[in-house]
Symmetry: C2
Subunit: 403 residues, 2 copies
Amino acid sequence: MSRPSLSKRAERIPASPIRKLVPYALQAKQRGTHVFHLNIGQPDLPTIPSGLEALRDYQPRVIGYGLSQGDQALTAALINYYGRLGHHLEPHHVVTTTGGSEAISFAMMAIGDSDDEFIIPEPFYTNYNGFAITSGVRLVPITTYPEDGYRCPTVEQFEEKITPRTRAIIVNSPGNPTGAVYTREEMERVAGLAQKHNLYVISDEVYREFTFDGLTSIGILEVEGMDERAIVIDSISKRYSACGARIGCVISRNNPLMEAVLRYAQARLCPPALGQVVAAAAYSDETDYIEESRLEYQRRRDVVFTRIQEIEGVVCQKPQGAFYALVKIPVDDVERFAEWMLTDFSVDGYTVMIAPGPGFYATPGLGTQEIRIAYVLNCEELEHAMDALVAGIEAYNLRSTQM
Amino acid sequence: MSRPSLSKRAERIPASPIRKLVPYALQAKQRGTHVFHLNIGQPDLPTIPSGLEALRDYQPRVIGYGLSQGDQALTAALINYYGRLGHHLEPHHVVTTTGGSEAISFAMMAIGDSDDEFIIPEPFYTNYNGFAITSGVRLVPITTYPEDGYRCPTVEQFEEKITPRTRAIIVNSPGNPTGAVYTREEMERVAGLAQKHNLYVISDEVYREFTFDGLTSIGILEVEGMDERAIVIDSISKRYSACGARIGCVISRNNPLMEAVLRYAQARLCPPALGQVVAAAAYSDETDYIEESRLEYQRRRDVVFTRIQEIEGVVCQKPQGAFYALVKIPVDDVERFAEWMLTDFSVDGYTVMIAPGPGFYATPGLGTQEIRIAYVLNCEELEHAMDALVAGIEAYNLRSTQM
């Protein structure tokens, strides 16, 4: 009786899958090796200048509570931004959240009770696992594959997973970690399933503008007849390079749903005031900041994808959006490989840290040959990083055969 | 099938109890009546100057993700602040959160599963209800009474409520909404129960320094033998008048517990970067800002308490801390009274908005004669506000008898 126990869910919530690599990265740095971090979705691009300027100009007497649904100036700016995308929203369709993270939690809790099911194509954004455990719901994965660019599952594949407990299908296009951008037909496929089986669609659109080669992403709001079913998750983190501001939102035209989301929002009082100052300015910004970011990510995608193809035995369809490539590489086990790259490898004083694939799958045993590359370094650094990665894979496999 | 249903928990989560009064307050303002807001715990005191200064000096290139457990500078400043209080903490004893709200959620989820029980003296901070529903745990209230100043329940009262599902006792001293400050004996009583019955104590100490008449508050860290059981909830919101910064923390010397809290923290990536800049400066501040705030609240308490005693039939022990008075007033129903004050009453062009008592009780039917007064206006405004309140109670009761 020296120490009371923890909750069962606390035991189940996963530690960050790259966390165990962090000490090895530190050790590499202590040895003088430069570690290129391709492992995190933290953009290196400068935060949108108008946002930083608004923050500099913000001189409050009291940093007080704001509205639980978000400050009116931000809501107005956000509605304006969605208007520029062609979507008319009313203020009550929007609740500002503490990052996209809280938006996902609120959405899950508003529609799901304990053991309710959310169908999600895997691989998917790791942290969905944490949000699901926290809110007690179950993620039901449908596996997609590197060989066909992680395309949207078929109607039959979805219907195999739909049960009376299914509450929603979660989609994320452009996708983290896949880089896939769903076509209009794919988004309509998901919407049609929701209509047929009386489900919600939670559409995580935080990478909306980051699409390449003339593709555009289709948001769930663009699909007809979805007003009562569509829940958009959004965030300023990636779009405006302001991850630390912790500002996101839930958007839906389903009024009872948004009233429920607002009640959750009231329970935590209000979203961060200072981040909202940055966000309101960002959403009002009509410069070509986003387009320049998009072009920069496209250049980086080109560097990364060109170099990936040098790897013998690699499987990777050309990434279409976001700023990730998920790459199947010819190694025995990417978790061992990721660690080895930090503990045993360097070339010209460089190595790379990547995110191992298994963290992006809910199905045990999958992803053991995939790595996620986040291209959040400039093109010159990416060339060096890819040098190290390509050489590292070769050296790792030589080492294996000699053992 | 026009609209899929919400979750059961979404239906259960309470709307903010004062929210229904908001339209009436707006109408009163539209009629030209000045509404004194005694209903919210939003301090009017200026945010600590060193915090605002640090924010002005913060000129990042990228507002990026920080550590999930909070930025190192803030953790160091917080440890330093606790050191000044006489408590030695290690960095892994602290996880920075998005306000005290998230700290409470993390603590509940780290130790409680669905239907686990948390014993809490009522009346208590309204939002605990929302956090409990969100995390699926049950609050088990023990009623305390205005007649004896809402003192801590007895050992027998606690033991009546302890079951195999009990995980923790929640205490909040200085208390919102009660203004009660627990004595050392009372804190030791709670700690002793936790030791005897193998429970945690969650101690919400956000009003720590705001105690009056020479009293000091006893924190749970000051009680012997509680290292594995004590969980402190803290926040900069009230102490430094920075509610909108959304910075709080969970503190415990129970290492597995803090590892679990860290996993929850990783799931939502990081706390707000900009608020942490304010918080790090605030915790490093050794000026007499807090003491001046305390003295100001004490002066206000004196104004409010003096005027309360003018009300015939009132029950209110002198508030000992925080910045609230919970007052039993001689009206039939405080919810009707609160609404009437906004819709039908003004004196010299003034009226007041107060928080009705029932929102602070978990037991249905209680609190119908209590109102919470937050003294977050200066003494001159408080005099006017109390004029209106005293006159309002009298006028309301005359009205009743004439109906």
